[in-house]
């Protein structure tokens, strides 16, 4: 099968229609926003007569080769007024188009994006959500969160309420590739997953791929989230500042020179739990000999600088840094008399935990010629977790002198250096070829403890415990061709090859990808896709929440690469260029999955991580429905998913659930999401989100039984109650539902500035959804004794919030 696909791909590349090329001319250029100069990703260019078209790539560049003569080009993008240019095409031409953002209050027809992800494109199982729409969705504590917005899409499940868990089509949390300007971020969470690291103010475009993966993507089994940062306004200085209940944000962008060739965009965000709590802590402790100073905050900074050397060359430098910081200082001083002896003692303890990502991307875009576009990047990304605890103690008196100093530090993380070369080649209207390669040097830091102790009563200690760093090399090659086979049939055929070398183990895989689109008429199409994926790294985590100790580890001799095969079939319909409907069915098989063994925990240190996990396989299937409206006064979507995903771990000695199939931890049968935003006028807009889903899975012992049967060991019996768990994940929490509301009140000034008050209500009808369920005993006064009860904890009842935003 793979051999035939290689041959087919090569034929497509080589069998370019030379005769056609001789009469053709190429139109190329960029599509940008008229006011800001930002390049538009995925904008459409369509020749209306010949019905040929293309879309801009991730850098806003397009290339369209057409037959000579009179042509009429329509440029369009979601939320922008379309623009038509007619010309007599007699030579290769460069046209850079500046589209104007639409005022949705004007009733004009605005073309939805059909070329790329909609009815006309070959891509399926992918969705792009406009950032403006993400910002309009009501948010927990008023904190706009990209990941939580995407959790509302069909095929994406959220895991535990309030967290940024991301489970796509039955895949695990480590099977998602989060790309920020093309470079992976390894930890997307702040505050154990309550918030994600993506600051919406810094983001230009978000596309989520759940299946039908183009060959340019790899490295993860279940999804690719491609996030592109704003380049910066090249016309004038703009920005906004917002203040909310938990954080404040600042975004500034503008040109660095008069010609607008160099632009910048800087966004920063910081929470202030620590600032708010500090006076309260001091107030509570007034007069105490013990003093505790503790706090938690996170921050992130996104920055991007771009420079346009010429129409052909552009350079970008992207930067992201974000950290979570927990700090605590404890001190106690005492000065007292012990009989006739004066004693002075001092104890101090300091704790400092910080963890986060650092990412830097240097990108060079070059238009080699009007058919060939090059993108070269050099990247650095790292995630690190550092934990430090120190304790000093001193006690001095006439009889005694004690001094000790103990420090414990723990460090873990992952660091990548990588380089990538990508090319877009559009030789003729029937082919749009992308090819490239990437090299990654991973360094895994699996966790090292450093302990130091000094003191006059102790033996000095300076010890390092833990695994040494593991280096690994990953290489990827890809080629894909978006082929127009005829007017109604289009295909995207590609191959992705990846190789991984770690600790003298070499793994590689060839992953064919194919997507087909059959256009039934202008509004209807059906699509099918197949994608094979491989993954060489695992995230060790056995909890639904994201902990900073979650550890990325490479494949080993025993733990072999994960791989998946996914097929999808779907129908797509566009209603009057306003609403896109889609229905997709998928089936995915996953091999070499890992799960923690019964009773294993990342906390236990007596065994290596390989001994804690079992390998098995899984499958997921489901149907997704989506109706999305991205233009007009009223926007939003209705998404529904029916899904099932199971696992089986039946390798001898590694059995889970006694080798029988069981539902995956994130198996959920129904997910229904309704997102609506409406602009009542220039000054007021409202939004609402309603979520309904089946309950999460949990493992619960519903019976207990007598277990005194080990007499072969001791000759004795002991009466013990044992829990009977018939199956892993055998219990479902009650169904989940919630309504969120958001209201925005805008005030505009004559100088183009605006002020916005945002009022959000999370869980507006106060649905008591379970966050955690447990059993306990409590006293029942009606029967005068304790009895067992099952309880649920709801941590997100109705939560109103308010924030203020100033835009200039």
């Amino acid at each position: 099968m793979q051999k035939y696909l290689i041959i087919a791909t090569a034929c497509c590349l080589l069998n370019m229609d030379a005769a056609m090329a001789a009469q053709n001319y190429t139109i190329s250029g960029y599509i940008t926003d008229r006011l800001t100069g930002e390049t538009l990703i995925g904008a459409s260019v369509a020749e209306t007569t010949a019905k040929r078209g293309t879309v801009t790539n991730s850098y806003g560049f397009y290339s369209l080769t057409l037959s000579g003569g009179k042509v009429s080009l329509q440029y369009s993008y979601v939320g922008y007024l379309p623009q038509t240019i007619s010309l007599d095409l007699s030579k290769d031409t460069v046209i850079t188009v500046r589209l104007e953002e639409s005022n949705v209050l004007q009733e004009v027809t605005i073309t939805a994006n059909q070329q790329n992800l909609g009815v006309e494109g070959t891509q399926m199982s992918a969705i792009s959500v406009p950032v403006a729409q993400i910002k309009a969705i009501p948010a927990l504590l008023g904190e706009v969160d990209l990941i939580k917005s995407l959790q509302l899409l069909p095929g994406v499940q959220s895991g535990t309420e309030g967290f940024t868990g991301f489970y796509v089509r039955g895949g695990g949390p480590d099977e998602n590739l989060f790309l920020l300007d093309g470079v992976p971020l390894y930890n997307i969470n702040h505050a154990a997953g309550f918030f994600s690291v993506f600051n919406a103010d810094a983001i230009k475009n978000v596309t989520l791929y759940k299946g039908g993966f183009p060959a340019r993507f790899g490295s993860r089994l279940s999804s690719v989230l491609d996030i592109r940062m704003n380049d910066g306004n090249n016309k004038q200085l703009h920005g906004n500042f917002s203040i909310g209940l938990i954080s404040s944000k600042l975004n500034v962008e503008g040109p660095l020179d008069k010609a607008g060739k160099t632009t910048y965009n800087v966004s920063a965000r910081r929470t202030y739990f620590d600032v708010l709590s500090k006076p309260l802590i001091k107030y509570v402790q007034r007069g105490n000999s013990e003093q505790v100073d503790a706090g938690y905050y996170f921050y992130d900074i996104n920055a991007k600088v771009s420079h346009k050397f010429s129409d052909k060359d552009r350079l970008y430098l992207s930067f992201y840094m974000g950290d979570d910081v927990i700090g605590m200082d404890y001190s106690e001083k005492e000065d007292y008399w012990d009989g006739s002896t004066r004693v002075k003692s001092s104890d101090k303890m300091a704790m400092d935990w910080h963890w986060g990502n650092l990412l830097a991307v240097l990108r060079w875009n070059r238009v080699i010629n009007n058919k060939l576009f090059m993108n070269i990047t050099a990247n650095y990304t790292r995630y690190r977790f550092n934990m430090g605890i120190g304790q000093t103690h001193s006690l001095h008196s006439a009889d005694d002198d004690e001094d000790s100093d103990v420090h414990l530090t723990y460090k873990s993380g992952i660091e990548d250096f990588s380089s990538k070369a990508e090319f877009d080649y559009a030789p003729n209207p029937n082919h749009d070829v992308k090819f490239g390669s990437e090299m990654v040097r991973h360094t895994f830091r699996p966790g090292v403890f450093v302990a130091k102790a000094t003191g006059n009563d102790e033996t000095p200690m300076d010890t390092v415990v833990g695994d040494s760093n593991i280096a690994a090399n990953e290489m990827m090659l890809f080629v894909e061709d978006n082929i127009s086979l005829n007017v109604w049939l289009k295909a995207n055929i590609g191959l992705h090859y990846s190789a991984f070398y770690v600790q003298q183990q070499f793994y590689h895989s060839l992953q064919p990808r194919i997507s087909l689109r059959a256009l039934l008429n202008d509004d209807w199409s059906v699509k099918a896709s197949y994608a094979a994926m491989s993954q060489y790294i695992h995230l060790l985590s056995n909890n639904n929440i994201s902990l900073p100790t979650d550890l990325w580890v490479p494949v080993t001799k025993q733990i072999t690469p994960m791989n998946s095969h996914q097929v999808s079939l779907g129908a797509f319909y566009n209603l009057n260029n306003l609403v896109d409907f889609s229905v997709e069915a998928y089936y995915k098989r996953m091999n070499n999955l890992t799960e923690y063994k019964d009773g294993a925990s990342f906390l236990s240190v007596n065994t290596g991580w390989e001994e804690k996990v079992s390998m098995g396989r899984g499958w997921a299937y489901g149907v997704e429905f989506l109706a999305q409206k991205t233009v007009g006064k009223t926007t939003g979507w209705l998404g529904y998913t029916w899904a099932k995903t199971e696992r089986i771990f039946d390798r001898a000695g590694e059995e889970l659930n006694f080798g029988k199939a069981f539902p995956a931890k994130y198996d959920r049968r129904h997910d229904l999401n309704l997102v609506v935003a409406h602009k009542f006028g220039k000054r007021i807009d409202v939004s609402a989100t309603w979520v309904y889903s089946s309950g999460n899975c949990a493992t619960l012992a519903l019976q207990q039984y007598q277990g005194d049967m080990l007499d072969w060991q001791t000759g004795n019996t002991y009466n013990e109650s044992l829990d009977y768990i018939p199956q892993r994940n055998n219990y479902r929490y009650p169904d989940y539902h919630r309504l969120d509301l958001g209201f925005n009140f805008h005030t505009f000034t004559k100088k183009g500035r605006s002020y916005t008050w945002n009022v959000s209500v999370y869980n507006a009808y106060n649905s008591m959804n379970p966050f955690f369920i447990f059993t306990t005993s409590e006293y029942d006064p009606t029967i005068y004794r304790e009895h067992k009860v099952m309880k649920k904890i709801t941590i997100f009842p109705i939560i109103p919030s308010i924030s203020y935003n100033y835009k200039f």
Partner: protein, 352 residues
């Protein structure tokens, strides 16, 4: 300002916790069937009822109105008789190694249960090599007004090499135990006291492979007392399993009228000590059950970060275990040196 901040934080904190009772559908009790088959001993089973996990009952109800039948291969060979109101049923059949037995039980109000098991043969092994040194440090007769004891303080140190002869092609499971047997012989009373004390041991052998195969014993100590392992690493071989014994202990012998009389006669007993190794061959069901019970105990109270443990059960229609074990024992020669000093506390008045 401080008040405003205080109330802001208080309101946030209040919003984050809300306990509510939860209604769950009550699942029906299942028959718990327990039986351990060993060659040469009558087949016996115990039937109790499981209880809903929210039940306030403290014990488990015995099932004494069940019909319990024993099948061998495809033939019904016995209807088992109730022998106690604790739900114990017994057959007169004494199984041999290799017997394939099935137990079926029915009781009103419960789903019927059944399970099959093969009775194991005795394990085979060679002669154990030992370099254990035993030192008796002190023999004491502590007494108070409640009881009288004889304590023998003994240090044991050394290695044992246990050659296990494994059957090829069959996955087999073992449990190894070490005992210190002490005999106190009183000439005048013609009375001999025998006590066996489980001795903890350690091992670096890879057969004790992961966190669940070394048993921690039942006395809440962390020493290995019962190593459970499979033959994955030595299938079909005669495997020299090496264990290390490092034990320093005291044995308490509890009051016996005869012992008190002997002590009153001021007779010093003759103490003889020897080490025994017991090798148990376990059925897979016993092995899996033991592993899962041990893992469950090890993670009690740590639910948040540990995967829940499924206790192994092989009872169709119910819960519990039918397993098999076969035991063989070998005495190990121990070099005993004595640094003994005897002491006797004043005797208390005898309690009647």
């Amino acid at each position: 300002m401080k008040r405003i901040l205080f109330f802001m934080l208080l309101s946030l904190g209040y919003a984050c916790e809300n306990n509510i009772e939860f209604d769950a559908e009550e699942t029906q009790p299942l028959i718990t069937l327990k039986s351990l088959l060993t060659p040469g001993s009558k087949v016996s089973v115990q039937l109790t009822a499981s209880r809903f996990f929210l039940s306030d009952d403290e014990g488990f109800n015995s099932i004494y109105n069940a019909t319990v039948v024993l099948w061998k291969d495809d033939s019904l060979i016995d209807t088992m008789s109730l022998t106690s109101f604790y739900g114990n049923y017994e057959s007169s059949y004494i199984p041999k190694g290799g017997d394939k037995l099935t137990v079926k039980a029915e009781a009103p109000g419960y789903d019927p249960v059944s399970c099959s098991a093969e009775v194991l043969h005795q394990p085979e092994w060679g002669e154990i090599t030992s370099n254990i040194q035993a030192t008796q440090r002190e023999i004491d007769f502590p007494a108070n007004d409640r009881w009288l004891t004889l304590d023998v303080f003994t240090d044991l140190k050394g290695d044992l090499i246990v050659p296990i002869k494994d059957t090829p092609g069959v996955r087999e499971y073992y449990a190894l135990q070490v005992y210190l047997k002490t005999t106190a012989r009183f000439q005048g009373a013609s009375y001999t006291l025998n006590v066996s004390l489980p001795i903890p041991y350690t091992s670096n052998d890879l057969v004790f492979d992961d966190l669940t195969t070394q048993f921690s014993g039942f006395d809440d100590d962390d020493d290995t007392q019962y190593g459970i392992f499979s033959d994955d690493l030595f299938d079909g071989q005669t495997y020299p399993l090496k264990i290390n014994v490092a034990f320093s202990g005291v044995e308490n012998y509890f009051p016996y009228d005869q012992l008190a009389a002997i002590l009153e006669a001021d007779e010093t007993p003759v103490i003889h000590q020897s080490v025994y190794v017991r090798l148990n061959k376990l059925s897979e069901s016993c092995y899996l059950f033991s592993k899962s019970v041990q893992a469950s105990r090890a993670t009690e109270g740590l639910d948040l970060f540990y995967e829940p443990i499924q206790i192994y059960s092989n009872i169709e229609g119910g819960v519990g275990l039918i397993g098999s074990y076969a035991t063989t024992e070998q005495q190990v020669e121990v070099s005993v040196s004595s640094a003994t000093s005897s002491s006797k506390s004043p005797l208390p008045a005898k309690k009647r």
